[in-house]
């Protein structure tokens, strides 16, 4: 339900804020929710960085990337629900805000994130938390689980045939 609430809030904002309405009305519902999402656990600046990061972890390919499926918002909500959001994660987001990460060249961003992915200590921890949050949410979406991963289960079968390949026995 939270997504619908957000969307309803978004619609209220559209009617209230005439200036933005023309541009927003042309967006898809998902894009609309995204464009008007008010982060709660994160500041606007932190959220902007998070959006760039999650799409770097899981970009759009034949299937949508992380932000297109709302992973950025899900992470903000997850962090909102936590009694004790990981401090190291927030600190490092702030460092990236301060260094203008969102506005540097893409190749520099990739280089920087690679450093994080291989680092030990706080930077390494930051990367792992970011990645855990991103993949957990991404592959819990219908698109992530079924379209991207090809999952066909969670259903009732009369028989479970098992392996039918001669070469595996």
């Amino acid at each position: 339900m939270p997504d619908q609430t957000t969307r309803r809030q978004a619609l209220v904002q559209i009617t209230a804020g005439a200036a933005a309405s023309a541009a927003l009305a042309s967006l898809s519902p998902a894009a609309l929710a995204q464009a008007t999402y008010q982060p709660r656990a994160l500041t606007r600046e932190q959220f902007k960085i998070l959006r760039v990061l999650v799409d770097m972890i899981i970009p759009a390919t034949e299937t949508p990337g992380a932000t297109a499926l709302g992973v950025d918002r899900m992470i903000d909500k997850t962090l909102t629900g936590q009694d004790d959001p990981p401090e190291a994660f927030l600190d490092e987001l702030n460092n990236l805000v301060a260094s203008g990460f969102a506005d540097i060249e893409e190749s520099d961003r990739v280089k920087l994130l690679e450093e994080y992915s291989q680092a030990a200590g706080e930077k390494g921890d930051f990367f792992q938390i970011l990645k855990d949050l991103t993949v957990d949410h991404y592959y819990s979406t219908e698109v992530g689980l079924i379209d991207e991963l090809g999952y066909e289960g969670n259903t009732a079968l009369n028989e479970f045939p098992g392996c039918t390949h001669e070469e595996h026995r």
């Binding site: 339900m1 770097m56 972890i57 899981i58 970009p59 390919t61 990739v110 994130l113 690679e114 992915s117 792992q128 990645k131 855990d132 993949v135 957990d136 592959y139 819990s140 979406t141 219908e142 689980l145 991207e148 991963l149 090809g150 999952y151 066909e152 289960g153 969670n154 259903t155 009732a156 079968l157 009369n158 028989e159 479970f160 045939p161 098992g162 392996c163 390949h165 070469e167 595996h168 026995r169």
Partner: protein, 531 residues
Amino acid sequence: MPAEKFDVCVIGSGAAGGALAGELTRRGARVALIEAGKYRDPSKLRTHGWPYDQTQPVAVPDVTADPKREPVTYEGDAISVSRGRVIGGRTTHWNAVALRFSEDDFREWSVNGVEEDWPISYDEIAPYYDKAEELMVVCGTRENLKVLPDGRFIKPLSLRCSESILARASKKIGMRVIPVRKALATEAGHGRAPCHYCGHCMQGCGVSAIFNTAEHVIPRARRTGRLTLRSGWMVRELRTGDEARVQSALIFERDSRREEEIHADVFAVCGGNIESARLLLNSRSARFPNGLANNNDIVGRYLHGHITGEVQGYLKDLVGTKPGNQDGALDHAYIPRTETAKGADYAGGFGIQLNVRGYMRPHHARFVPGFGRDFKRRVRDLQPAHTSALAFGKVVAHAENRVTLHPTLVDDYGLPLPRVTFHWQPNDIAMYKAMLDGCHKLYDAASVAFRAQLKGPGGFASHEVGCVRMGRDPKTSILNEFNQTREIKNLFVVDGSSFTTFPEKNPTLTIVALAIRAAENIMRMKDRGDL
């Protein structure tokens, strides 16, 4: 009006208490069954929900003690214990692996020079294993293995591609992959709905294809007219007055805190390892200042359970193939323990359950290195190739590992908190290394790449046992060979806490076999006027 007096008061309705109450009522006893939890309708479990529309149930249903209202305090190494609060106890959400202990498993001292021998032998318990399997309905294959005796099996689960590949590879290294033995109806005609292979076994089976005392035993017991089920009630203490005899159980309703006394000729404690010990320790009299039947200070000691270690990985043969539907009944294959090498630095053995993790999420996504397009592609390619090996090892019981009553803290119901003290011993650590080596050896033989070893060791996989042990030596045990306390004739303890020692095999089938056997003995003793 005098209060009703029951033949037997059974405390706890899980594998032990459910089976015991079922067998006692079948044999004509009038039974009061006290269960702290309430009925949970399996058809309301939503086991086929999805993570993305908030219909997916939580990993384990809300049927255990609420850690906020009824906490456990821990000292020592990181392990956890589980306490059910539901009719059916932990049989309401279990993976149903049902293995017989072997002849040697009852003779640790004679065979391996560690711990003690049980006061009963395999031959003595074998007829009750037959009865337990008949009650529980166990699928499997006859393999003629000394380390894992065959039983009465129905149609086995078929092996998936990953399990077939591992089965072929295991032969090269002296391991043997066999179809798992589970208390699961794999076909119609066993008085319950057959499995429909949705893979949500651990969350509670929505159609009860898995054995569950709440669905398969207690309704039958009620139909005898001899079962009085008090659900939502818990025993505060067993009262003995000045005698060496339990006279009543002081019970309270968890919602209202109303108290009552239950009178019976015999009391059978089946609360699960921790709760059974806690109840005995919390029931004191001048005659039993350390708790009932505990004048040797053994109640609560010898706490142990399984040590677990897990390696996940990806079978090269299956990377990039079409995923299909691999859910099944969670794990379909088991690797029985191999002979422990002469000169090994540990006693005991370990078994491996394959593919217990399910396929509804990419377990590897957190571990695959890097990020971006290549990462995403790799996660997808690995998904159909996922496999997991979860090893369960024997833990040697030590008197210092124990549960006691917390001296000051009480739970919401005013009961002293269980205080669990546990440290892994050198044998356990050596076992853990051997378990992981075994998993890696298997993976080497089967070309399993990209392995992720879960942080461990883990304990006890909800398989905790030993706190009110039976034995031959009155100095180191509480119960005789009939699950009867030595100091109080009409007090029995029938659950996993009664295990003298514990091999690598899952406990439930043995718990049910012991319960059926105890019921028979209780009735025999009662008929003879011994109780």
